[in-house]
Each structure stands twice: as structure tokens, then as C-alpha cells.
């Protein structure tokens, strides 16, 4: 098979400090190569180095060939001719990748317009069809689209001019398994070579051809994708995947009391029925998963269950008092006050009642203990959230729930931005909260999280009738 991308001895260093070193691999025609590794292992740096998108302070060494021709990623003028035409790129954050003031149609037409060509309506229509996007939605603006739809639009833009090489940074992080599989098949089509950075090991082992594992900026293992989750995988890969193994939820205590029950719950948004006639019973210590495609009302259900939004039909009883429900948000960083030290953030639930106030020293001591309980004992309680990774921030938010366990914890996509290892740690921290007798409702698009880490899963779907899947 023809080699479309050959990388030999690639290294990136900032001020003499190597970030990525000695990277060599080949990408053949029609091949999908998955790049995996923990966050901070250099996956995105490697990809941006190949694209010439690193700042001028980066020192890039090594040799990159595209279709047999040596290219110089630091030569911006030469790269401009290649980007879009020979190399396609799908950026990690679809919202950041789309200009907010112009409709999505312009974003997809940009590869043509950037080189003075007329956009090809037939090509756009074909891409929209393959990615299952309604062409009428193209006239809308990015904020009117869901993250998953925008991600597919970014992929359409990257594939517009049919590049030989596609570099994709987490192209399926907001997509369910069906869409993700379709996206990867489309990348593979037309004899393209595709390099995908992904956190989704299950998807990669099923759909990619080969897997490269990066650790601290070096390739430590390479194997066939189908072997990556088996016992024949190289030891580094096995260690990586086993660290990503999700823990099972703690058993529900035998005499656990029912916490709340919802009867005939329905939510209508304008003319649209989000969900209808839902029956949910929650016991103390139970972890309930909520699944469903994007836009099916998962987050709305959480708001209803936590009493922040009144349902249009049915009722939740009993109504939990203020302070009995604790939220965990997808935006982990945003859920922590950036000006506060960690101990103050974690101990905030203790300050809700003026007359029960403890001294600052007691708050601090309890906060330190809560940090230890989510395996963050090594952090200084005086650090600020800005210095932490997303996974650490998410565990800080969980430590805050743990310091005064709520009756109900609602978690909205708490693991979506995390690498597999961080994901496992966040789930373990959530289970610690469940072990204190709190019920947890966990919304996720990640099947593995729902199936392994929850006692039960309810499905919100197009048929509007939820089906109870998988019971412990």
C-alpha cells in the first residue's frame, strides 16, 4: 500500500525542554491510525506540529513526508498551500472551531473560499447526507447547533476538498457510537490516511487499524487496533487500558430507603415532547444512569429531578429541600470559583447555615480530609482551580459534595472531557459519594460509563418511551 504520511524522528521542544521526541510512524492509504495516551502525553502537540500550528517558540526537528514529498511544517507559506487540500484537520473543540457570527454553511464552504474556488453544492450535499445532517440546518448559527452536530460539520469542512491525509483531534468526543462509527468510515473512504487522537478506546479498537500509544512525548507501543484491548496487547497498552477500567458501583445497602419517586413525568418544550410518562424510583445509594442521543432531554430531566425546573406533567415526590441536591457539571473548571483556594471551595457546603458555622481552621481540616478521599491529597489546599487539570477540577467538585453528602447528586456529563484514566478516577470518586448513602443520577453519552458504573440505566430516545436497560 502507498504511504501517504511518513514521520521520522519528529521532536518538539520549548526552550530546550522536549515535549515530544523521537516520533516515527507511517500512515498508509486507506488506513486509520489511532493515537492514544493520557492527557499531557503530547498527542495534540504532535498533531499541531505536523500541521505547522505550533507557536514560533517551538523547536521542531525531524522529517515529515506527505505522499513522498518532504514538507517543512515551519514554512507557513508552503503549509498554506497544503492545508485543506492535501491535509485536512478536525480541531478538538467544535464550538471554538466555528466562527460564531456566521451560519454553519459558511464554515463548511470555507475550504473552497479560502483558495478562491466556488463551493461545490453536490459535494456539500453528499457530505451532509453521509454525516446525517439536515441540509436545512446549515443556515443556522453555531450556537443553535448541538456539540455533536457541530463536530460533524467540522469533519465535513475538513473533508471538503478530499485531502489525502486527515488529522483529527477527538473528532467523536460528542458523538454516540453510531455516529462515531459513521464518521470514521467516512474518514477512511476515498483511500485517505487518517490519524485520530481519541480517548475512546472501545471505538478505536473496533474501528481503527492500528494504535499508537504515547507516554510523556514518546511512542511506547504500537499494535493492531483489534489486539489493543486483548491480553496479547503490548504491556504498555495493557497497563494503559487497565488503568482505564471503570470501577463497579458499591452495592446498595439491603435496607436502603426509597429517596424519591417520579410518576408520569413529562416535559414539553414548545411543540416538542422531550419525554413523557417517565416513572423513576430512586433508593439511597443508588447510581442511576441516563442515556440518550443529544437533544433528547437528558439535562432537562436532571433539572426536573433536582427541582430547578417544574415538569409539564407528573410530579416528583418528595420535594427535596434546598441543599439536599448537589450538582456536578460538565464544565468542571467553571463549577469552581476561580478566585478561591481549594479548601474554601470544598468546604463551601458547610457554610450554608450561619448558626452552624465552624471555624476557618475546622473547615480547612475537613476540606483536606475530603481532598484525600478523592485521591487529591497531594494538592495544596491553598492552590487555585486555574492550576489544575480538568479531571482534577471534576474531583474537587466531587470532594465538595463529599464534605456534606447530599441526598441526591446530579451529574451532567462529568467525564466527557477526560482521558480514560481520569475518567476512572472521577467515577471512583462518585462511587465514594454513593457509598455515603447519596443517590446519584448520572447523565452521559458514554456507553461504557453507563453500563459499568451505574446500577440501572434509563434510556431517553426518539420513541419517547424510556426503556429500562440493564439492571443489577
Amino acid at each position: 500500500m502507498t504511504v501517504v504520511l511518513q514521520v521520522t524522528g519528529l521532536g518538539v521542544a520549548y526552550g530546550g525542554r522536549p515535549v515530544v521526541s523521537d516520533i516515527s510512524f507511517t500512515l498508509r492509504k486507506g488506513e486509520v491510525l489511532a493515537l492514544i495516551g493520557a492527557s499531557g502525553s503530547g498527542k495534540t502537540t504532535l498533531m499541531r506540529a505536523l500541521l505547522g500550528l505550533l507557536p514560533p517558540t517551538a523547536r521542531i526537528t525531524g522529517r515529515v513526508e506527505i505522499a513522498g514529498k518532504v514538507i517543512d511544517p515551519t514554512d507557513r507559506r508552503a503549509m498554506r498551500a497544503l492545508l485543506g487540500q492535501a491535509i485536512g484537520f478536525v480541531a478538538q473543540d467544535p464550538f471554538a472551531a466555528c466562527a460564531p457570527l456566521s451560519p454553519v454553511r459558511n464554515h463548511i464552504a470555507e475550504p473552497w473560499l479560502a483558495r478562491g474556488l466556488t463551493p461545490d453544492p453536490a459535494r456539500i450535499a453528499a457530505l451532509m447526507d453521509q454525516l446525517r445532517i439536515d441540509p436545512a440546518a446549515l443556515a443556522l448559527y453555531p450556537h443553535q447547533w448541538s456539540g455533536g452536530m457541530l463536530q460533524r460539520a467540522s469533519i465535513a469542512a475538513a473533508l471538503a476538498l478530499d485531502p489525502q491525509v486527515l488529522l483529527a483531534d477527538e473528532p467523536s468526543s460528542a458523538l454516540d457510537a453510531d455516529h462515531a462509527g459513521r464518521v470514521i468510515d467516512l474518514c477512511r473512504s476515498a483511500g485517505r490516511g487518517t490519524l485520530i487522537v481519541s480517548h475512546d478506546l472501545a471505538l478505536m479498537s473496533a474501528r481503527a487499524d492500528r494504535v499508537i500509544l504515547l507516554e510523556t512525548g514518546r511512542i511506547v507501543a504500537e499494535c493492531m487496533a483489534c489486539d489493543s484491548v486483548t491480553t496479547t496487547a503490548p504491556v504498555h497498552v495493557r497497563r494503559f487500558t487497565s488503568a482505564a477500567a471503570l470501577p463497579l458501583p458499591p452495592p446498595i445497602a439491603a435496607g436502603a430507603k426509597p429517596l424519591m419517586s417520579a410518576r408520569g413525568l413529562g416535559m414539553r418544550l414548545g411543540a416538542r415532547m422531550l419525554f413523557d410518562d417517565l416513572q423513576i424510583d430512586l433508593k439511597a445509594g443508588e447510581v442511576l444512569g441516563v442515556a440518550g442521543p443529544s437533544g433528547s432531554g437528558k439535562s432537562t430531566l436532571l433539572r426536573v429531578l433536582s427541582g430547578r425546573l417544574a415538569p409539564t406533567a407528573g410530579a416528583v415526590s418528595p420535594n427535596l429541600p434546598a441543599g439536599a441536591v448537589m450538582p456536578i457539571f460538565q464544565d468542571a473548571q467553571g463549577s469552581l470559583n476561580p478566585r478561591w483556594p481549594l479548601w474554601r471551595i470544598v468546604s463551601e457546603p458547610l457554610r450554608t447555615r450561619w448558626r452552624d458555622r465552624l471555624s476557618g481552621a475546622a473547615h480547612r481540616a475537613l476540606a483536606v480530609q475530603a481532598l484525600v478521599n478523592v485521591s487529591l491529597g497531594h494538592l495544596s489546599p491553598d492552590a487555585r482551580p486555574g492550576t489544575l487539570s480538568t479531571g482534577q477540577c471534576q474531583r474537587i467538585a466531587i470532594a465538595r459534595a463529599l464534605i456534606r453528602p447530599p441526598r441526591l447528586l446530579v451529574a451532567d456529563e462529568p467525564t466527557s472531557a477526560l482521558d480514560p484514566r481520569q475518567k476512572a478516577r472521577v467515577i471512583a470518586a462518585l462511587h465514594r459519594v454513593a457509598a455515603t448513602g447519596s443517590a446519584i443520577v448520572l447523565v452521559s453519552h458514554d456507553r461504557a460509563v453507563l453500563q459499568t458504573a451505574c446500577h440501572r440505566v434509563i434510556e431517553l430516545g426518539d420513541d419517547r418511551k424510556p426503556s429500562i436497560a440493564g439492571s443489577f
Binding site: G334, R339, E348, P349, A365, Q369, N373, I403
Partner: protein, 293 residues
């Protein structure tokens, strides 16, 4: 349950934020420059009048427009008054006046903006339309109008400048408060059962106050210049009192024969504006949580 052991053992790490604002400013390059310069000017204002031998308002017609000498370090003006003594005497009117106006504007802006954001509804609409009207009028022209009503004078000038400036701060305070109130950490605080006033004091007010403090420090330079400008026009400090802008105004008739009369107050105005801008920039870097590492 969580046990009350092992806690407090954590050594408190000394960080910029936990050490207090002054230490954080001192560690910042521009902040240190601004602090030193501002300290020098404050020392001039506080110690100058006590230590300097000459009376700033006593004319000496035997020694008019004298060049800098051992006795009069910065020379004398057209009526023989010591230039250095007058600069020291005028310092509190320029610096202190600007600080007073900024404090007034900060307080009024903070209260109006946060009240509008928290109350919402009709009160918000009414307050913000008043702000719109204020912002539609050019600030200096408006200050002229207020001075026209009240008559010239130093305190009237400070009041007029505050009236002309508060609307900008109210607008920013409202926007910052609305932004802060929509953050997930504020929603989290509400859901964990904190009372509305607790959310306001713990989460919203600090965010607004820091934003306004940065703007006020940056605006301080402009305020010093504005006080000087009005005094230059004769609408602020009245004779015989010294003020840097007024001194600059008086010196313009003699600058070909006595340029020191022009250079010294201009240099001090420049230094004061520079110092407060440096402090403002440093404050912005320190208090922007995202920019901290």
C-alpha cells in the same frame, strides 16, 4: 463520615494570592514600579510640607522667577514662591483628589450596578436608562455644566468629575454581576442551599469589586489629568492654593525664560499617571484568575 484529624497539618504555601495584595503587587514587575513611584509621590505629599523650609503661598518679590539654586531647588515662580514647596503642597490636591473621586465613583458604580443586576425588572431598566443618558453626554462637557451650576472651586470640581464618571462603572458592575451570577459555580452555591445574600457576598461582589478596582486604578491617571486640566482652566483650585495643573497653567507665560516652572509639574503629573497605570496593569494581571499560573 469525615474525621477531624490529619487536617491542619498541611503547611500553608505562600502564594501571591494568599500573601495579600501588596506582596503580590511587589512580585509583579510593573506592580513594583508603580508601587515605588506612587510611594515617592505620596511621601512628597505627606512629608514635603512639613520638611521643606519655604511657605508655599508666601510671595517674595525680591526673588521672582529665580533659576534652580541651592536655596530654591526647583526655582521660584512669578511671585517668588518656592516651586518645590508648592509642588509638595499641591500633591495632595492632585493625588488625593483623584483618589477621592475614584473611591466615590467606585462605590456608587458598584452599588448601582449590582442593585440593577440583582433586582432586575423595572428598577434595572430605570437605572440603566439613567446610565445611558449619562454615557450619551461627553464627560468633560457634563462636568463643565455641573461646575457652571455650582461655581468653580476644588470640592465642586471633584463632585462634578464624580458625577460625570460613575455611569461607566455602574455599567461594568452590572455586566460583571450578571456574568458572575450565570457561572456554574454560582449555580452550584445556590443548589447547595446558600442563601441569596450569601451568594451575593461570597461569589458576586468580589468578582465585581476586583473588576471595578482594576478599572478605577487605570482610570486614576485620567482623573489626575482631568483635575489638572480643570485647574489649568481656572475652574478647580483657586488662588493662592497650589495644584499641579494650575501651576502648569501659570507657568505658560514664562516658559521661555523660566522653563523649570513648566517642566517640574508636568513631570509630576506624568509620573502620577504612569504610576497608577502601572498599578492598574499589575492589578489586572494579579486578579484575573484565568491568567494566574
Amino acid at each position: 463520615m469525615i474525621r477531624l484529624t490529619a487536617g491542619g497539618a498541611w503547611p500553608r504555601t505562600r502564594t501571591a494570592a494568599s500573601d495579600g495584595l501588596l506582596a503580590a503587587l511587589w512580585q509583579h514587575r510593573q506592580g513594583r514600579a508603580g508601587l515605588l513611584l506612587m510611594l515617592a509621590l505620596v511621601l512628597l505629599a505627606v512629608l514635603g510640607p512639613a520638611l521643606l523650609p519655604h511657605d508655599p503661598n508666601l510671595p517674595n518679590y525680591a526673588k521672582t522667577l529665580a533659576a534652580p539654586s541651592a536655596e530654591h531647588w526647583l526655582g521660584t515662580d512669578a511671585t517668588g514662591r518656592d516651586q518645590l514647596a508648592r509642588l509638595a503642597d499641591g500633591a495632595h490636591r492632585s493625588l488625593g483628589g483623584a483618589a477621592l473621586v475614584m473611591a466615590l465613583v467606585f462605590g456608587v458604580g458598584l452599588i448601582v450596578g449590582v442593585v440593577a443586576a440583582v433586582a432586575g425588572g423595572l428598577l434595572d431598566i430605570v437605572l440603566m436608562r439613567i446610565v445611558d443618558v449619562m454615557m450619551a453626554l461627553p464627560g468633560l462637557i457634563f462636568a463643565f455644566a455641573v461646575l457652571g451650576l455650582l461655581g468653580p472651586g476644588y470640592l465642586n470640581l471633584l463632585f462634578a468629575l464624580a458625577v460625570a464618571d460613575w455611569a461607566y462603572y455602574a455599567r461594568l458592575a452590572r455586566a460583571t454581576a450578571l456574568d458572575a451570577a450565570a457561572r456554574p459555580h454560582v449555580e452550584a452555591a445556590r443548589m447547595m442551599g446558600r442563601a441569596p445574600w450569601q451568594v451575593l457576598i461570597a461569589h458576586i461582589l468580589p468578582a465585581v469589586a476586583w473588576q471595578l478596582a482594576v478599572l478605577a486604578t487605570l482610570g486614576m491617571g485620567g482623573m489626575i489629568a482631568a483635575i489638572s486640566a480643570f485647574s489649568f482652566l481656572g475652574l478647580g483650585v483657586q488662588v493662592p492654593h497650589a495644584e499641579w495643573g494650575a501651576m502648569l497653567a501659570d507657568s505658560r507665560f514664562y516658559f521661555t525664560i523660566a522653563p523649570w516652572l513648566l517642566i517640574a509639574p508636568a513631570a509630576l503629573i506624568f509620573a502620577a499617571v504612569l504610576a497608577s497605570n502601572q498599578l492598574g496593569e499589575a492589578l489586572r494581571d494579579i486578579t484575573t484568575p484565568e491568567g494566574r499560573s
